[in-house]
C-alpha cells in the first residue's frame, strides 16, 4: 500500500499541537510506516504545492487572508483533519471575540500596526469543510492516532464521547474538586481526554469545548454557590475555550 502524503499547516496558534505530536515517540514512528510527511514546519523545511492525501490543520481562522489559504489547502487535500482547540473551536484566541479593543488591551501603543489586524477567531470549519476534528489543548494525540489509523485502513468510525468530563473523573475515582470547595468546569466540559487535569489538582477549563446539551445556567449557579467565584467571573469562566459555543457567542 502506497504511503499517504501528509502535510501539516498552522494558523493562529502556538504550534504546541505539532510539538505534542513530535513528542509522541513510538506510536508516531509506527505511523510513519503508513504516512509520508511532505510539509511539517516543526520537523522539516520542505514545502509542497501539489496534491496531498491528508492535511492536518492547526490554529484558528482569524483573518480574511486565512480563508484563501484554507480554501487552497482544501482544494488539494483529499481529507482535512482540524486538530487542537484553536482549529476546532477558535481556542484561546476567541477570548477576544467579545471585546471591542482587544488589540489595545494586549499591544498598547502598537495596536494599530497592520500585522495585528484580525477579526473574530473562529474554528477552521467556519471557512472550509473539515472531515475530522481532534479537540483539546493540546490535542489528544491518542485520538489523532486513532483517526489517522481509521483514514489509513478504512476501519470503523472512531468513537469520541460527547458527555461531560464528570463521567471520566468518576470512572477514575478522582475526588471531586467541589468536595473540597474548589471550582471546575467539568459538568459542562466535553470529555474524551480521560480527565487528567482534576486528577492532578487542576480545574477543568473545557479545552475540548462544551458537552452535548450543556447546562450553562446551572454551571454559573454552581460556580458561585459551590465554587465560591464572584458572579462575573463565573459567567465569563467558560469563555477561555468555548467562546464560540456559548449562548452569547
Amino acid at each position: 500500500m502506497a504511503k499517504l502524503k501528509c502535510a501539516w499547516f498552522d494558523f493562529a496558534c502556538c504550534e504546541g499541537c505539532q510539538v505534542e505530536l513530535t513528542n509522541y515517540g513510538e506510536p508516531f514512528v509506527q505511523l510513519l510506516e503508513h504516512l509520508e510527511p511532505v510539509e511539517f514546519r516543526e520537523v522539516m523545511s520542505e514545502k509542497t504545492t501539489g496534491p496531498i492525501d491528508v492535511a492536518f490543520i492547526e490554529g484558528s481562522f482569524t483573518r480574511e487572508a486565512d480563508r484563501r489559504r484554507l480554501e487552497e489547502i482544501r482544494a488539494r487535500a483529499k481529507v482535512v483533519v482540524a486538530y487542537g482547540s484553536c482549529a476546532t473551536s477558535g481556542g484561546i484566541n476567541a477570548l477576544k471575540n467579545h471585546m471591542d479593543d482587544y488589540a489595545g488591551e494586549v499591544y498598547g501603543a502598537d495596536k494599530d500596526r497592520p500585522h495585528l489586524n484580525s477579526a473574530k477567531a473562529l474554528p477552521v470549519s467556519a471557512a472550509i469543510k473539515v472531515d475530522y476534528e481532534v479537540r483539546g489543548c493540546p490535542m489528544d494525540r491518542d485520538e489523532l492516532l486513532r483517526i489517522v489509523q481509521q483514514v489509513v485502513h478504512g476501519t470503523a468510525k472512531v468513537y469520541v464521547p460527547s458527555y461531560p468530563v464528570c463521567v471520566e473523573c468518576k470512572r477514575r475515582e478522582t475526588v471531586c474538586r467541589y468536595d473540597d470547595g474548589e471550582y471546575c468546569l467539568g459538568p459542562i466540559a466535553r470529555a474524551g481526554c480521560g480527565a487528567p487535569c482534576p486528577a492532578d489538582g487542576i480545574p477543568c477549563e473545557a479545552c475540548r469545548g462544551l458537552a452535548e446539551q450543556p447546562n450553562q445556567e446551572a454551571m454559573v449557579k454552581v460556580l458561585v454557590d459551590n465554587g465560591k467565584l464572584p458572579q462575573q467571573r463565573a459567567e465569563n469562566l467558560s469563555r477561555m475555550f468555548t467562546a464560540n459555543f456559548r449562548g452569547d457567542a
Partner: protein, 340 residues
C-alpha cells in the same frame, strides 16, 4: 455458622495474614474521601470510613474492562481472575453486590463479571461512621444480607466476626480468634441495629408504596422542575452500586490488523446514551434532560423494584453527594413523590 472474636490488637496481624495470601482490596483514605483500593500496607485500612467514591462493584467490573484482544488469526479473552479479598464492605454495599450479581447472572450470565466475582472473598464490616447522605436504614432494610463470607462488627475491645460461609471459614486461618461470648454477640447486634436506626436521612415509604407512587408520577411536572439544574453529567450513575449499563467499543492498533474490544461504564443521564443511529439517521429517544432524569427514578424505584421486590437502591447516598447541582438525592425526590 460460628461467631468469633478478634481483639483490636489482632486486627493488623489478621490483615497482614490475609495480605500474605491474597491481594486485599479495602477502604483507604484519598484526600477528603475514601476509596476501595489494594492495600499496600495493612495500616492503610480505614474501617472507620463513611463511604467510598465508587462502590465495590469496581472490583469485579472495573470502569474500563478489556474483553478480547483480536488479530488476523483470531481472538483471545483478557480476563485473568485470581483469588482476592474484598474487605470492609458495609451491609448496604453487600446488598448492592447481591443486586449486581443478579443483574449479571440472571438472564444473561456475564462471564467477565462473574469470573472475578466468584474468586473474591467478601468480608463485610459494620458502619462506624455515617456518610451524611446515607439512608440505608429506610430502604430494603428488611432484606437479609447474602453473598458475603465474613462479617465483622466493631464492638468494645475488638470485632465480632460472623462466619457466613465455608469460604469465610477458610480465612480464619490467617488470624487468631477466640469464640465470641453471648454478650459480645448481643453487643454486635445492637451496634448494627443502631447503625440502621441512626442514618442521617430517611425515606418516608416502604418498597411497595414507592413502586406504585413513582410509577403513577410518570406524567408529573415534578421531573421538569427537579431536573432544571441537571448537567446530564452521569455522576449519579457512575457512582451507583446498582447501575450496570456499559458501552462496548473496539480500539484498533496502528497496523490496522489487530486491536482490543473493551467496555466502559455507561450513564443513562448523558444525552448520548439514548442516541440511536439507523438507516434514517440519528435520533435520541430521551432527548430532554427531564426524561433522562425521570428514567433514573423509574428504573430504580419502579421497573427494577418489580424484579427485585424492592428498589434497586442501597441507600448509600453516593449519588446525592456526587451531584454538584444537588438535585439527585433520592430521599428528596422520592419523599416529594410520596407526598403527591
Amino acid at each position: 455458622m460460628t461467631q468469633q472474636f478478634l481483639r483490636d490488637d489482632d486486627l493488623m496481624p489478621f490483615v497482614e495474614g490475609l495480605m500474605n495470601r491474597y491481594p486485599v482490596i479495602a477502604p483507604v483514605a484519598k484526600r477528603t474521601r475514601f476509596v476501595f483500593e489494594k492495600l499496600i500496607a495493612a495500616d492503610d485500612l480505614r474501617l472507620d470510613y463513611d463511604t467510598t467514591v465508587l462502590p465495590p462493584k469496581k472490583v469485579f467490573f472495573p470502569s474500563r474492562q478489556d474483553l478480547i484482544h483480536f488479530d488476523q488469526q483470531g481472538f483471545s479473552a483478557c480476563i485473568e481472575p485470581q483469588a482476592q479479598v474484598l474487605m470492609g464492605v458495609h451491609p448496604h454495599d453487600i446488598k448492592g453486590i447481591a443486586m449486581s450479581d443478579r443483574f449479571y447472572s440472571d438472564r444473561h450470565f456475564d462471564n467477565n463479571y462473574m469470573a472475578y466475582r466468584q474468586v473474591t472473598y467478601i468480608i463485610g464490616s459494620s458502619v462506624q461512621q455515617h456518610y451524611k447522605y446515607a439512608f440505608f436504614g429506610s430502604i430494603n432494610a428488611d432484606k437479609p444480607l447474602s453473598g458475603h463470607d465474613l462479617f465483622m462488627t466493631k464492638i468494645d475491645g475488638g470485632y465480632v466476626i460472623e462466619v457466613v460461609s465455608d469460604k469465610g471459614a477458610e480465612l480464619l486461618a490467617c488470624g487468631s480468634f477466640s469464640e465470641a461470648s453471648p454478650a459480645q454477640i448481643a453487643e454486635a447486634e445492637a451496634v448494627n441495629a443502631a447503625a440502621m436506626e441512626n442514618c442521617p436521612q430517611k425515606l418516608n415509604g416502604g418498597s411497595a408504596e414507592i413502586r406504585e407512587k413513582v410509577r403513577a408520577a410518570y406524567e408529573s411536572p415534578l421531573w421538569d422542575e427537579m431536573s432544571e439544574d441537571c448537567f446530564s453529567c452521569g455522576s449519579c450513575n457512575i457512582v451507583c452500586p446498582t447501575c450496570y449499563c456499559f458501552d462496548v467499543q473496539d480500539e484498533w492498533n496502528v497496523d490496522g490488523a489487530s486491536g482490543c474490544r473493551f467496555r466502559l461504564w455507561d450513564a443513562c443521564l448523558t444525552s448520548e446514551f439514548s442516541e440511536v443511529t439507523g438507516p434514517g439517521g440519528t435520533e435520541n429517544f430521551r432527548d430532554k434532560r427531564a426524561e433522562r432524569y425521570r428514567h433514573r427514578y423509574m428504573r430504580k424505584a419502579a421497573y427494577l423494584n418489580d424484579q427485585l421486590g424492592g428498589p434497586a437502591c442501597t441507600g448509600c447516598g453516593r449519588c446525592s453527594g456526587a451531584c454538584t447541582a444537588d438535585i439527585a438525592n433520592p430521599v428528596n425526590v422520592i419523599n416529594k413523590v410520596l407526598e403527591q
